[in-house]
């Protein structure tokens, strides 16, 4: 059976071009960029070239780019690094309830150990942050606004430029987790009005364990990792040269192709969403109907549980993920789906399909062919019959 991989928000397959680009840096250009000899200089030049290319893609300066070991590390560096550096100036952070756990759990850490105060903004029924809520939450001690560009679970794209304008107006730093947006959205840091931005290689067909933090000139950060002073003393440790080269190549390709991919995937995504909503009763689309990532389809299917559905699809070699409690480490259902106002029973039945470069129309047709039957089987097993009005009413209160 052909594998149908619809979990591209979890991670993507490494692109052939990226793999080829990386190979050279394992055993040919293998020097330590910090070494004072030809072999080292060769590697250093490669890394600096990659930094410049990445900077250009996001309309930034080379020295504003720090290579890290992924999105989570970049977010930790941005939030903890800034909170520590600015502790004499303020301690208040504004974020939203729909952020990735890398942001939410870092905020929780800062509240607990760094005396920070965090405002978790509510989102609307589509999971979107309202810029005027951001403005009302600003206080004299606010040091940072951190709002994700696009949501990893439900795909909703936030009004970045507007939030950025508010941050600028009040002279407060604005960080965004742009990991999911990188393949489909404009990353121009000037247009977005962002001061810090996190990107991740493994979401754009690049290598896992790679990422960057962009931090505008003038921002002081206290490093998390201490040692040899690499990355302008912000991130010690010998540079992951193959990873850095792979990241730069992957981001370049992703940004070059983003409009083409956006249009192609929007069509496939809409076919999938409309197909599910038409062929399966008691289903809801999660996330914004239009302001969303082109590759994200997240639906709640009532009366069944997401893990069971995921495992049935797995039998057809269709790979998806769910917001059900059963697959999460904490045994809590998706905080994002709950934040949109859906009750728990709808969160347990949420399923996420995230399309990618290799997704074809046949793949979508295959899903639409098997899904109604699986849902029927699981509903036969289930003693539950949730009233649709109950869900509609819960949502209308948002």
């Amino acid at each position: 059976m052909k594998e149908i991989y619809l979990d591209n928000a979890a991670t993507t397959k490494l692109r052939e071009e990226v793999k080829q680009e990386m190979l050279n840096y394992f055993d040919v250009v293998y020097g330590n960029p910090g070494s004072f000899h030809g072999k080292g200089l060769e590697a250093k030049n490669a890394v600096e070239d990659a930094r410049e290319r990445v900077a250009k893609l996001i309309n930034a300066k080379s020295r504003e780019i720090t290579f890290t070991a992924g999105g989570t590390e970049s977010i930790n560096l941005a939030l903890k690094g800034l909170a520590k550096a600015m502790k004499d100036k303020g301690n208040h952070i504004i974020t939203s309830r729909a952020e990735h756990h890398a942001v939410l759990n870092t905020c929780e850490y800062l509240e607990k150990y760094e005396c920070c105060e965090v405002t978790y903004l509510e989102v609307d029924k589509y999971g979107m942050v309202n810029p005027s809520d951001v403005e009302s939450a600003i206080k004299p001690n606010t040091i940072l606004i951190t709002i994700m560009y696009a949501n990893n679970e439900i795909g909703t794209i936030n009004p970045m430029a507007e939030i950025g304008t508010i941050a600028r107006k009040h002279n407060i730093y604005f960080h965004t987790d742009a990991c999911q947006a990188a393949g489909y959205c404009d990353l121009d840091t000037e247009k977005l009005n962002v001061d810090m931005m996190t990107l991740n290689g493994s979401k754009v067909y690049g290598p896992k364990g790679t990422g960057i933090l962009y931090a505008k000139t003038g921002i002081q950060l206290v490093p998390l990792v201490h040692g040899g002073g690499q990355e302008r003393n912000l991130r010690s440790g010998t540079e992951n040269v193959p990873g850095i080269m792979g990241f730069a190549k992957a981001l370049e390709l992703a940004q070059t192709e983003r409009e083409y991919e956006f249009n192609k995937l929007t069509k496939l995504r809409d076919k999938l969403v409309n197909g599910i909503l038409e062929s399966v009763s008691k289903t809801f689309l999660n996330g914004h109907p239009t302001q969303r990532l082109p590759n994200n389809a997240n639906v709640s299917i009532l009366d069944i549980e997401g893990e069971a559905l995921t495992l049935y699809l797995n039998e057809y070699d269709i790979y998806t993920s769910t917001g059900s409690a059963c697959t999460s480490q904490t045994l809590d259902p998706s905080h994002v789906v709950l934040a949109t106002g859906l009750p728990y029973e709808a969160a347990h039945g949420s399923i996420r399909f995230t399309l990618g470069k290799e997704t074809t129309e046949d793949d979508i047709e295959k899903v639409l062919e098997v899904l109604p039957g699986i849902v029927k089987t699981l509903r036969q097993i289930s003693p539950v019959n949730v009233a649709v009005e109950h869900i509609v009413e819960a949502r209308s209160k948002k």
Partner: protein, 229 residues
């Protein structure tokens, strides 16, 4: 015949790497998989199912869709020999919840049925053992099965005027301020809260009433050993 090692070296794959690459794509045991995809004793919601439900001697239901697991059991009981003769079920939940209930329905009906007194003694571990183990964070799924069974048996006792046999689930209040009971702590441990900090995050027990903390810690140890050995 060439050995496995020879085949591997021919393929230029290190043995350890090969084992990892070829690891299976399923998360549970084959028994769980079998009962998940082919649940035994399922009650189908058709005319026949409706008839079965009407004629059942007992019905038990626990959980709710909001907590992520809900299950319903129907029993037919032979009064004269005090045995469960037939059992049907429906489950809303994950693979292990569905497989656990299916296995439970087999266990209480196999070998001409289970004595009610034996059924009351059935423990989650017995179901887990028959399934060939579950990941520890899925243990709570099988707890619901034996709870539903006890609730159904109590329903039978009520319907057959054997009120003296009804077993009330004893819950002891540990923290009067938060009304936390030993059962709440048991549930929380099963859901993976294995230390005081995690328990407090879930239950807020003993946060203002610090005097109860030793008792809470004692219970965490007890249930941790009970379920996770």
């Amino acid at each position: 015949m060439e050995t496995e090692i020879q085949t591997q070296s021919k393929l230029n794959i290190h043995p350890d790497v090969k084992a990892k690459v070829e690891s299976k794509k399923w998360f549970y045991t084959d028994t769980v998989k079998d009962h998940f995809f082919n649940p035994r004793n399922l009650l189908i919601n058709d005319e026949e199912g409706e008839q079965y439900s009407k004629n059942a001697d007992a019905i038990g239901m626990v959980g709710s869709p909001a907590c992520g697991d809900a299950l319903k059991l129907w029993l037919k009981i032979d009064k004269n020999i005090d045995k469960i003769m037939d059992c049907k079920f429906q489950t809303f939940g994950c693979a292990s919840a569905i497989a656990s209930t299916s296995m439970l329905s087999v266990m209480v009906t196999e070998n001409d049925g289970m004595k009610i007194d034996d059924a009351l003694k059935l423990k989650p571990q017995d179901i887990i053992a028959r399934l060939g183990n579950l990941p520890s964070r899925k243990f709570h799924c099988s707890v619901l099965g034996d709870k539903a069974l006890r609730s159904a048996i109590n329903d039978y006792f009520r319907r057959s005027n054997q009120n003296n046999r009804i077993v009330v689930e004893g819950a002891r209040i540990i923290d009067p301020e938060t009304k936390t009971t030993d059962k709440d702590i048991e549930e929380a441990v099963l859901e993976g809260a294995l230390n005081l900090e995690d328990i407090q995050k879930k239950l807020k027990v003993g946060i203002s009433n610090k005097a109860v903390i030793p008792a809470v810690e004692e219970l965490i140890r007890f249930y941790k050993e009970k379920y996770f050995g």
